[in-house]
């Protein structure tokens, strides 16, 4: 059973516009959420995170919003740049007692000039 879902396999956006990547989760024990970015032939790199006690976290062009009641989070990238083209993974933790992460399947973002 998939506990972290990214229902959009891909997203295309024009440079300068906003990119919104969505993520849903089913396990109410998750209390920490992270976004990772992955370029081809490289390992994922950490982008931004949010604790369940917050509803928003911002870092430069990247903002993550958390709606606990809906079990939904989103990553906003404003403005989008061609270098943002990558696969974005949503991850969640806090349910196992260990420092493990449960990842979604990823969304491929393509930002065109």
């Amino acid at each position: 059973d998939q506990q972290v879902k990214q229902n959009s396999p891909s997203l295309s956006v024009q440079e300068g516009r906003i990119s919104i990547l969505n993520c849903d989760y089913t396990n109410s024990m998750f209390d920490y959420f992270l976004w990772y970015k992955k370029y081809p032939a490289e390992g994922p790199t950490f982008l931004i995170s949010i604790s369940s006690i917050k509803d928003k976290n911002e870092d430069g062009r990247f903002t993550v919003f958390l709606n606990k009641s809906a079990k939904h989070l989103s990553l906003h990238i404003v403005p989008s740049q061609p270098g943002d083209s990558a696969v974005y993974f949503c991850a969640a933790s806090g349910s196992s007692g260990y420092s493990t992460l449960t990842f979604g399947k990823g969304t491929m973002l393509l930002v065109s000039p």
């Binding site: 032939a41 490289e42 390992g43 950490f46 260990y98 493990t100 992460l101 990842f103 399947k105």
Partner: protein, 117 residues
């Protein structure tokens, strides 16, 4: 900067071979992880270790084993490689909760693309 290195970027092995994938981290992290990434399936946790000689099964441990004899090194072993183990293998490490730049943040290596023929 945290550095996680993996012994090979690309590897081709034959069915039935024993395969060792090595991972080394230089930040004295307690936790280490092995994932595989497949198209449309995301990252799936195979095994993890929270201390030397300790190991825990992840979501898909079947067909794999691990070894952690030293804190900085975590090995993934395919006892008898099969074609369905063709995948990208990613190693990661993280400090204990309460340390590091962000809770639960994991640092990944560049990955090993394994092909089993």
């Amino acid at each position: 900067d945290v550095k996680v290195t993996q012994s090979s970027r690309y590897l081709v092995k034959r069915t039935g071979e024993k395969v060792f994938l090595e991972c080394v981290q230089d930040m004295d992290h307690e936790n280490m992880f092995w994932y595989r990434q497949d198209p449309g399936l995301g990252l799936r946790l195979i095994y993890f270790s929270y201390d030397v000689k300790m190991k825990e099964k992840g979501d898909i441990p079947e067909g794999y084993s691990v070894s952690r004899e030293k804190k900085e090194r975590f090995s993934l072993i395919l006892e008898s490689a099969s074609t369905n183990q063709t995948s990208m293998y990613l190693c990661a490490s993280s400090p204990p909760l309460g340390k590091g730049s962000a809770a639960y943040e994991q640092y990944f290596g560049p990955g090993t693309r394994l092909t089993v023929t």
